[in-house]
């Protein structure tokens, strides 16, 4: 029942949001709905519900972690969005909006909840074709979110996002068909059944299927060299949306890959898959490092940092052993921290009205000081400075790499991490230090205090707190849950 509720509640409220004309009701409904989603997620932790709809929807040991991340992020984002939407509507008050069937904000809030729905479908589905439908639906639900600003640049980003992801997902569909062929005797695509029958699968077809699905979902996940849509979409989307794309969507796409990986493990293809994971993981890290180094745009910089972290997570899965556990921790840490950073980036953007790093300085001294402080804290966490969860995760992954005697890889990995740290440090320090820039004019009281507005800071602060606490105090129940999930994903 809970499984179905988790999907139905955001679905229907999302559809309803398109029709609601009152701004206050609409904004609060998002928060209420996300809150309900989070509450239901907590309930799922307490008591695993039975599979629903012929076993198509169920939360197993792996997906519950993804569900929790997504749910927490959405709740934080919805709180942030209230503030964000209010600001946006104030800003565009003078612009005579063209009469449209749905107002811009209604489309945004509706799609926001539909985005949550589709991601829940991806996470919950045990049927691989349904999972595919869910991933495709996330693209479609999030495209209007990216196009929120209705500018040329956001349109360009939306187009690239739509096209590249659609092609990637089409490739994944072919992969699913291959999987069905590999599964010759049993036409059912249910995960549990496939794992049970994995031993009798047709190996060449399964290999091809994994490759196609890896590239297909990898496109959506932002694995280099298929990540090209990611910086564009992340930089042009509203910051709330960037946070969700980076923190939740990429993970969901990764879940798609992990599902197939589970089947491949059962079919005895683990080594083949791990090689792919390691290669593309390392490639993503190196790609990201190269592009972060001279990045002039701070939102794009964050996007490349997401590519880097997706690379780390993939690498960890590829190494196997305890590194899988590290990957899971890194995923949680990255999602929380990156979302928080994007919220702050949204604050900075709405105050300075520029995404150029060179035009911003003195964040911690000016009116934006709290945002500035959080910006620095977020930087330290995301680059893996102890004592954060991400440090802990990277440490485990490195240890595993050394244990397996992948010295060359370890070297490249460390060098890339160092480059990322240097590149990001330069950007963050130049933005936060120096004399403060005072934005005068516009003479709006509301704007004056925006950077410090309580609601726009709390989600980030909370997320950062959680991310740090992962490194300081790791609750036993979470550790146990992660260990079980890691075991199912070929780890220890």
């Amino acid at each position: 029942m809970i499984n179905i509720l988790l999907i139905i509640i955001p679905l229907f409220s999302g559809l309803a949001l398109f029709l609601i004309r009152n701004d206050f009701v609409r904004r609060n409904l998002i928060v209420v709905c996300s809150g309900a989603h989070l509450a239901l997620t907590c309930l799922t932790w307490l008591k695993r519900s039975n599979p629903a709809l012929a076993g198509w929807f169920m939360f197993d040991n792996v997906s519950i972690i993804f569900l929790t991340i997504t749910s927490i992020l959405f709740f934080g984002a919805s709180v942030y969005a209230v503030r964000y939407l209010a600001d946006e509507s104030l800003e565009h008050l003078d612009e005579a909006e063209k009469p449209q069937i749905f107002s811009r904000e209604a489309v945004f809030s509706g799609c926001f909840l539909l985005f949550l729905t589709t991601m829940t479908i991806v996470i919950a589905s045990q049927h691989l074709a349904v999972l595919w439908v869910g991933v495709e639906a996330t693209t479609l639900a999030s495209a209007p979110l990216i196009y929120f600003h209705r500018t040329k640049r956001s349109l360009e980003a939306t187009w690239k996002y739509l096209l590249i992801c659609s092609v990637g997902i089409a490739m994944a569909l072919l992969g699913i068909f291959f999987l069905a062929v590999a599964n010759n005797n049993h036409s059912d695509l249910l995960l549990g059944k496939m794992i049970a029958h994995a031993a009798g699968m047709n190996i060449p077809w399964l290999k091809a299927a994994f490759l196609l699905l890896f590239v297909g979902y990898g496109t959506k996940m932002g694995i280099a060299p298929f990540h090209t849509w990611l910086p564009d979409a992340h930089s042009e989307a509203p910051s709330v949306v960037s946070a969700l794309l980076s923190g939740a969507l990429l993970n969901c796409a990764f879940l798609g890959i992990l599902r197939v990986y589970q089947i491949c493990i059962a079919a005895g293809l683990q080594a083949y898959c791990q090689e792919l994971f390691m290669f593309f993981g390392l490639l993503s890290i190196v790609f990201a490092a190269v592009f972060i180094l001279k990045q002039p745009d701070y939102k794009r910089m964050l996007a490349y940092s997401s590519v880097e972290h997706m690379g780390i997570i993939t690498l960890g899965i590829g190494l196997g052993g305890s590194a899988v556990f590290g990957s899971m921790v890194n995923m949680i840490g990255h999602s929380l921290t990156k979302a928080g950073l994007f919220f702050i980036a949204g604050n900075i953007l709405s105050y300075f009205k520029t995404k150029k790093i060179g035009e911003i300085q003195g964040l911690i001294r000016g009116e934006m000081q709290w945002s500035g402080v959080l910006w620095l804290v977020g930087f330290l966490i995301i680059t893996g400075t102890p004592p954060s969860g991400i440090f802990f995760a990277k440490f485990i992954i490195l240890k595993q790499a050394l244990l397996q005697k992948h010295y060359g890889m370890t070297f490249i990995f460390l060098a890339a991490l160092a480059i990322v740290f240097i590149g990001m440090a330069r950007i963050f320090i130049s933005m936060t230090q120096g004399p403060a820039i005072k934005i005068v004019g516009q003479g709006d009281l509301n704007k004056h205090n925006r950077g410090n507005a309580f609601l726009s800071l709390v989600p980030s602060a909370l997320f950062f707190g959680l991310a740090i606490s992962l490194g300081v105090y790791f609750p036993a129940w979470l550790s146990k849950a992660l260990a079980i999930a890691a075991k199912e994903l070929g780890g220890l």
């Binding site: 595919w132 360009e156 072919l174 068909f177 910086p231 564009d232 930089s235 001279k294 990045q295």
Partner: protein
């Protein structure tokens, strides 16, 4: 060997090549629509006693969508967005055509690597579906207009559908419908995007969509 199946599959292949060498957007839309109809018929080419009512439903739905609804949407887009009628490939038509042939050779090689023992509608179904898939992908990267990219995407979907129709005829109906619906929405959303692009940029040349990019050596230093 099913002769009719072979014929249909080879016509699908020739349509790919036609697509690569035709210069008019309207022709391209017609080709992709015709291909959609042909591929939609594929599941019905099996032996008669294997045809289930569900297959007829999904086949007819896909024929209606791919053969009539999508082309209608695309034609509307061409008309309303005042799109120029030339396809404008990167590198010219003869080169595209030769690449199309190479794609087929590659697909053929790929299909020989993947062994499948059960009888199929046509022994050429696998290579042609791969070729259609890759041709679609090639059209997406080599054509400059947003609308031709959507056509390429449809071609790619046709390839996948052909594969599914040939190899997985007994797949569950619900899933197939969901997939069709998804593609439908995708084309719809892309159609909307095309409208917006043509309004904002006065053209739908995606080469002009190049404000967002990174280079390793950025032009302006921080």
């Amino acid at each position: 060997m099913n002769n009719l199946g072979d014929f249909v599959v080879i016509i699908v292949l020739l349509m790919n090549l036609m697509m690569l060498s035709s210069s008019r957007i309207r022709t391209c839309i017609r080709i992709v629509a015709g291909q959609g109809i042909l591929i939609g018929c594929m599941p019905l080419l099996n032996d008669f006693h294997l045809i289930l009512p569900g297959m007829v439903i999904s086949a007819s739905l896909s024929i209606i969508l791919k053969g009539f609804v999508f082309p209608w949407l695309l034609f509307r887009a061409v008309q309303e967005a005042n799109i120029k009628k030339e396809v404008e490939p990167v590198g010219g038509y003869p080169l595209s055509l030769l690449i199309g042939v190479m794609i087929f050779a590659l697909s053929f090689w790929l299909s020989t690597r993947l062994v499948y023992t059960k009888p199929l509608v046509s022994h050429l179904a696998a290579p042609v579906s791969f070729a259609t898939f890759f041709t679609g992908a090639f059209i997406i990267v080599s054509r400059m207009k947003a609308i031709t990219q959507v056509i390429g995407y449809l071609l790619l979907e046709n390839g996948i559908y052909l594969f599914g129709a040939a190899f997985l005829s007994e797949q569950s109906l619900l899933v197939e419908l969901a997939i069709l619906l998804d593609i439908f929405v995708a084309v719809f959303v892309m159609g909307i995007a095309i409208f917006h692009i043509s309004r904002e940029f006065d053209h739908i040349d995606t080469q002009k969509l190049s404000e967002l990019k990174d280079s390793i050596i950025s032009k302006q230093d921080i």
